[in-house]
Amino acid sequence: MIPESDPWLILLVVVPLLAAPVCVLLRSAGGAWSLATAVSWAVFAIALKLMDTVMEHGQAVYRIGGWDAPWGIEYVLDPVGAFVVVIVAAIGAIILPYAKRSVEKEIRRDRIYLFYTMLLLCLSGLLGITVTGDAFNLFVFLEISSLSSYVLISLGNDRRALTASFRYLIMGTIGATFYIIGVGLMYQVTGTLNIADLKTIMPAVEDTRTIHAALAFLTVGISLKLALFPLHMWLPNAYTFAPSVVTAFLAATATKVSAYILLRIMFTVFGAVDLFESFPLQPVLIIMALAAMFLASLSAIWQENVKRMMAYSSIAQIGYIVLGIALATEAGITGGVIHMFNHALMKGTAFMAIGAVVYATGAVTLKDLEGIGKRMPMTMAAFVIAGLGLIGVPLTPGFVSKWQLVSASLEVDMWPLAALILLSSLLAVMYIWRVFEVAYLRQPQTPLQNTREAPLSMLLPTWVLAALAIYFGANATFTLDLAHAAAQQLMGGY
């Protein structure tokens, strides 16, 4: 039974892709913003529609050009993909209204329309990665999103944004090239690029050295994009010097999509073979994840620049996601997937709040932000919510993720792992509390005397995300069930 082609699936990717050059033609900052915002909301609506379809039918399919798989390129959306698509689209829809004011102060006026162009391209690329069912097509979208990210980062008004972008470019391209080597090796042995097809053929060829090499290249390549320790070096600078909107957007989406690619490779492409039997992938990933959790959290404690602190925090959170995935049990993958969602909520809120502070004060270091809690109470309240989430206090999504991850560790009797997860949460207390103390317990210095609360167009999206965070922290049944369904699907079959 060949499922019907669902055109919404291709529209999801094509609409922002086509809107991007229109932005270039529009030239004006306001016009570009309007178009981009309208497109992002349309994309979000499409994403919700697709999620609905997936929940009803189990998957959505689109064959490009009408060619059947595996000869043609097929787009497939399953529960995991739908989940990620909704996350990316939602973040896009929330960020764009926020972006209008934020970029006014951080990007040169005559370049703003280019910013929106790149943002739409990035959105299209990220969505394309998630919905494609073809390994090489994935590379194409990976590069679309990456190249646009490089440009987005370089738009920051500090000249270090340029070098940060360059470094990210170098590392990212190496990562993508490794990925393509892996795909090439797999193609050499299996003769197909279609992910579902690869899964069927893999058991026959899994013991070849070629496949082992392919897996190695794929993992390293994706880890570079994922900023998994020790391949994370591009992230702190990139997040710190990019415009705040860009940081918020990328922090909440790009790494999640890279984690999705890892899931796809490990559990779909290699889903029909026992991946960990012949390959010591699990211990390697777990050790790297633990290292990320601890070393990055420790680094965060010593940072003076709030954006850089949050960047290191992101690296630690990616460690949690990979830990869940590496456990390779239903509970573990549920933990990894739910943390993708929860982290997007929390980090998105945090970076948007920081962006609002930057907009209002121009300052981003702790010593310039003393007493900011009194001047911008609403903004900092949103940051507090995000911070409490990172610590893992109940009623925040971070608590739900920790719960799931520790449960998953206990289920497989990995006690030390559970203890380490909780220990690293305590490190989060230390760096979050530094920000709280400075923001609330110190007096505002003279430069901050005239600071007022952020404009509504920035405050509202930040609070929408913060409110969503609290909602999904208090009532996590829906999202956990979704994540669980996704995990079951990944463990059970494509």
Partner: protein
């Protein structure tokens, strides 16, 4: 039912939410109309107490009304269930909140403290969390409100904003968060992993699921995870929190935070482990020793403190471990004693802290050595202090006598010689660090301060402001009344172990 138009479920939910509504109103009123703001605080407190009290009769009749708030995780809801122990804690918290509010008004205005709105708002959140802990129907709910209590009391501890307050706040938060996330969360998940549930059930849910050394470790995780019970060595947050203004100390050390700690200890022992299970397993012997050690060690440290509040802080550490010791004995009658002691200590300690704050407000004195002859200038305050001290020592006609009696009976019944020894020794120590203060206050001459002392002008002080004195007289009276009318706490205690 006092509120006949409120269903049971609504009443329980309202009990948790009402303080928050009050808090919102207070926040809205802000600094604009301070008298109105204070009135709202008081009215909310009174309404809360009436609401909580209305549930008492049902609980004593055997009913266990329950309501689910929302489902946080699949299969795990945030649930509120009213049972005897919780009802007692809720009664104490809401009742003493009224008196604490009266006291706070007098203290904050008398000392011209800043940020009063923030103070009152955080208070309401803390009380809401305390009632939430009291009525928690499962461990998840308990943990949730436990964390909310920690976070909402942090701004109260660091109220003054001075460097030592910030440092104290760090120790406070650091220890409480580290223990709750590091130990309690782990214990909770371990329990869930073993049993598939987190509900508080009579007889416990762990029977048969865990034995031997694992049981001891699980118990250890719980006991140290509940950092608010101040078991050594995680007790350091208590003296560190003394940097807070006295109404906060009274709240922390008598009404909400420490009571939440020992309450959680008793609740976990009775409803998660089950008395029978622990009795047969002998895995809690270590708890007996550590509680006993804490009692004695804290008392010895208290002896050597000159700062009055610090002395009271270490006394609290010691008294809390009485409750833990009583629980560890595992005899029903000692558990009743533990429950009674939660009530007795609450009244006694709050009186002592009120007195300390009163002394500071009127005379700006903080050290025990300065208190010579102060009884002549502040007779009400020092009389109340005396009553509170007697309750701590356990001398009739104060409530502390009754609880100690029950605990001793339990120890005698089970033949726990160690516990008997500890109780006797600590009684002597308590007398050692409380009675001299009372003696010096009434029977020694006041030592005037040197001319260059900034507080020299306060030497000719009288009593503290009316609100302050009123509050402490009330609680002192309560301590004595509780001796003569201990029915409600005792009944609740008996319902806990009998029912």
């Amino acid at each position: 039912m006092l509120f006949s138009y409120l269903s049971e479920a609504q009443a329980i939910q309202l009990a948790v939410i009402l303080p928050l509504i009050g808090g919102l109103l207070v926040m809205w009123m802000g600094e604009r109309n301070r008298n109105l703001r204070e009135t709202v605080s008081l009215v909310t407190a009174v309404a809360e107490f009436i609401l909580v009290a209305s549930l008492t009769s049902e609980v004593l009749d055997g009913a266990r009304p329950s309501v689910d708030l929302f489902t946080m995780l699949p299969g795990l809801a945030v649930t509120l269930t009213v049972e005897p122990l919780g009802q007692l804690f809720a009664l104490i918290a809401s009742g003493l909140w009224i008196i604490n509010t009266v006291y706070s008004i007098g203290y904050m205005r008398g000392n011209k403290e800043g940020n009063q709105t923030r103070f009152y708002v955080c208070f309401t959140i803390a009380i809401s969390a305390a009632v939430g802990i009291a009525y928690a129907g499962n461990l998840l709910t308990l943990f949730l409100f436990y964390e909310v209590l920690t976070i909402s009391t942090y701004p109260l501890v660091t109220h003054s904003g001075k460097p030592e307050a910030i440092r104290g706040g760090r120790v406070y938060l650091g220890i409480l968060m580290a223990t709750s996330i590091g130990f309690l969360f782990l214990a909770m998940l371990w329990t869930y992993n073993l049993t598939g549930t987190l509900d508080f059930v009579e007889g416990g849910i762990l029977a048969g699921q865990v034995q031997g050394p694992e049981l001891a470790v699980l118990l250890l995780l719980y006991m140290y995870g509940i950092g608010k019970a101040a078991l050594m060595p995680v007790h350091r947050w208590l003296p560190a929190a003394m940097v807070a203004p006295t109404p906060v100390s009274a709240l922390l050390h008598a009404v909400a935070v420490v009571k939440a700690g020992v309450f959680s200890v008793v609740k976990v022992v009775v409803y998660i482990f089950g008395l029978d299970m622990l009795n047969t397993a002998h895995s809690d012997d270590w708890l007996l020793f550590i509680a006993g050690f804490t009692i004695i060690a804290a008392s010895i440290i208290a002896l050597r403190q000159d700062n009055l509040k610090r002395r009271l802080a270490y006394s609290t550490v010691s008294q809390l471990s009485y409750v833990i010791l009583a629980t560890a004995i595992l005899a029903p009658i000692s558990i009743v004693g533990a429950v009674m002691h939660i009530a007795a200590h609450a009244f006694g300690k709050i009186t002592l802290f009120f007195a300390a704050g009163s002394i500071y407000t009127a005379a700006h004195k903080t050290e025990v050595s300065q208190l010579d002859g102060i009884g002549k200038r502040m007779p009400f305050t020092m009389a109340a202090f005396g009553i509170g001290a007697l309750s701590m020592i356990g001398i009739p006609p104060t409530a502390g006598f009754i609880s100690k009696w029950y605990i001793l009976s339990g120890a005698l019944e089970t033949g726990e010689a160690f516990a008997i020894l500890i109780i006797v020794a600590s009684t002597l120590l308590n007398a050692g660090y409380f009675l001299p203060i009372v003696y010096a206050a009434f029977f020694k001459e006041q030592k005037p301060r040197p001319e260059d002392d900034p507080y020299h002008k306060y030497d000719n002080h009288g009593e503290a402001p009316v609100a302050v004195v009123l509050a402490l007289c009330f609680t002192a009276l309560g301590t004595i009344l509780l001796f003569f009318f201990p029915d409600v706490p005792l009944a609740l205690g008996r319902a806990l172990v009998g029912g």
